[in-house]
Amino acid sequence: MITQMAWRNLWRQKRRTTLVMTSAAAGILGMIMYMGFLNGLKSMMIEGSIESGLGFVQIRPDDYIEKRQSGLTLPNADQIIKSLQTLQKSSSLTFHFSERTEKEGMVRLGGTMRGVNFLGINPETEKNVSSFDRWLVEGEYLKENKSQDQNSFRMIPIMMGKALARKFEVEVADFVIISMGSDNGNVSYKTQIVGVYEAISDGIDLSTVLLLRSDLLSILKLPDNQHSPEYITLSTENLGDTEHLKTLISETLSSVQNIKAATYKELQPEIVRLLEFSDQFKSIFYLIIMTGFALTLLNSILMSVLERTREIGILRAIGTRGKAISLTLIFESVLTGMLGCAAGVFFGGLLILWLHHSGLSLVAFARGMEMMGKAGSVLYPWLSAFDIFICFFITLSVSFIAVLYPVRSALKLTPIKAIYDR
């Protein structure tokens, strides 16, 4: 009967209860939206970075991992690749890897010039570790040069981002000049665009130009002993397996000197820092919302205790213990919070679901986003079951804490005070 009384008490002041529930719902709605956006932003940043080349794990020279020294080649690359191939066959964890060489340089056409990063790839293995092949919107993906005749003339094929192609007003089959510094000074080559990709963000489009690793090496005219890749990037099916993959690789390659495996988090610590910061900010946001809700709830329950003073006195007088009075109030509070929370989660969830499918264009902020990393320009908010659990859990705790003071004042009411108002 306690629950029944609590339930009916709630609806004695319909407007007040509705108002308090609405405030809970609004707060939770805000939290849900915030969580959804933050999740979307995180995914966008992580996936964007990973899919555009970072991979889950990279094998790099020690000096890169420790001092970020670039332009190095991977020592013992042949041995590493052999070990990885063996491991691929024996390990229960499915993973892929691909060798890369990177070089900074310039794309030029007429009077237009832009600094870019040339990513030298092995096209077939690259498909498994990044998404450039899937991002192709025009022309075709890079193909390994099969021609045996080294002397026959062949135009170097490249793939560039859509945004960059638009800047140069070029399309598939057009030519651009690429140039970069090599051991023999600055070298320039006329290249042909074979494919145009559109990554999840303009930032990637504008900065990354793909070409065959073999072509990049021949442009740089490196001696044969420096043909090793700069690094190897690895991926698995599931981002959650990153640490597992790293451990596996580190163990397998423990005998190889001067190299290290590092996860995307270690390679781009700014991502991790940004995520941590956003989590901290999230906590502050919750705290503010929930403090507001707690005060509203406290005020409302306190008012209803005041209004029901005589009733509480009667209940005590006929033999109700303090515990039952407290329980009634706690139940009322928790019910208010939970119903409000459910409404907030419901509407917030629907909104997030809708935005998850339609995507949220961030074009207006895209410039700022680029600076934050390699984030994209369409955000897909999402929620996990845990996020929803957190909403309910926080509301439950807050409803519980907010009612303590009203409970205390209700327990202080002796029947005499309550009934005779003395």
Binding site: M1, Q4, M5, R8, N9, R12, R310, E311, I314, L315, R316, A317, I318, G319, T320, R321, G322, A324, T414, P415, I416, I419, Y420
Partner: protein, 222 residues
């Protein structure tokens, strides 16, 4: 041994420098199944005495013993249980819990006593039939007249078969017809069930129906 023994009971209130002797060395004995009215002018201490016997308030000095139990020796929860099992209260007005129906208001006491649903239903139903409330059982207090509310309050006071029913001016808010009805009901229950009734009143007609009168003046028995 009497059912209610009040011995040298005093209750003082302090307001600023004044000491108000609401009860001043009161000694009375009330036997089982007595139908007693507590009378006296306003401020004479009637309510204070009823509250002390009902263990709603602690006296300044003196002792109340009911069925051999000294009230001063009970702790908080024992006092709640004492009220639940031995005392029925009827207050002047607004006795009922507004969110519960007439039936539920009465049933509530049985639930506190941990009766199961069927027992509760049977007990309340038969009491309501006995005292003519069966047609009102699903109404909420706001849908009942003052007299009907007081009758439900009496039913609630009685449902747990207490030893004593304490009623502080139960008829004060009722017209004479309803007062008569309520008193008849109380009388009937006193005789049939052997329950002790102690009620305060200002009303001459109500006093006349009591089997015994206890007169108070300035906190003293006269």
């Amino acid at each position: 041994m009497s059912q209610i023994e009040v011995k040298n009971l005093s209750k003082f209130f302090y307001q600023a420098e004044y000491e108000i002797k609401a009860l001043d060395n009161v000694t009375i004995n009330i036997e089982k199944a007595e139908f007693t009215a507590l009378v006296g002018p306003s401020g004479s201490g009637k309510t204070t005495l009823l509250n002390a016997i009902g263990a709603l308030d602690k006296p300044t000095s003196g002792e109340i013993t009911i069925n051999g139990t000294k009230l001063s020796e009970l702790n908080k929860n024992q006092i709640s249980d004492y009220r639940l099992h031995h005392i029925g209260f009827v207050f002047q007005a607004y006795n009922l819990i507004p969110v519960l129906t007439a039936f539920e208001n009465v049933e509530y006491v049985l639930q506190l006593q941990k009766f199961n649903k069927t027992d509760r239903r049977n007990k309340v139903d038969s009491l309501f039939k006995e005292i003519g409330l069966e047609n009102l059982s699903d109404r909420f207090p706001r849908e009942l007249s003052g007299g009907q509310q007081q009758r439900v309050a009496v039913a609630r006071a009685l449902i747990a078969q207490p030893d004593v029913v304490l009623a502080d001016e139960p008829t004060a808010n009722l017209d004479s017809e309803n007062s008569e009805k309520l008193l008849s009901l109380m009388e009937q229950l006193c005789e049939q069930k052997g329950i002790t009734f102690l009620f305060s009143t200002h009303d001459e007609r109500v006093m006349r129906r009591a089997k015994r009168l206890i007169k108070l003046q300035d906190g003293k028995i006269v």
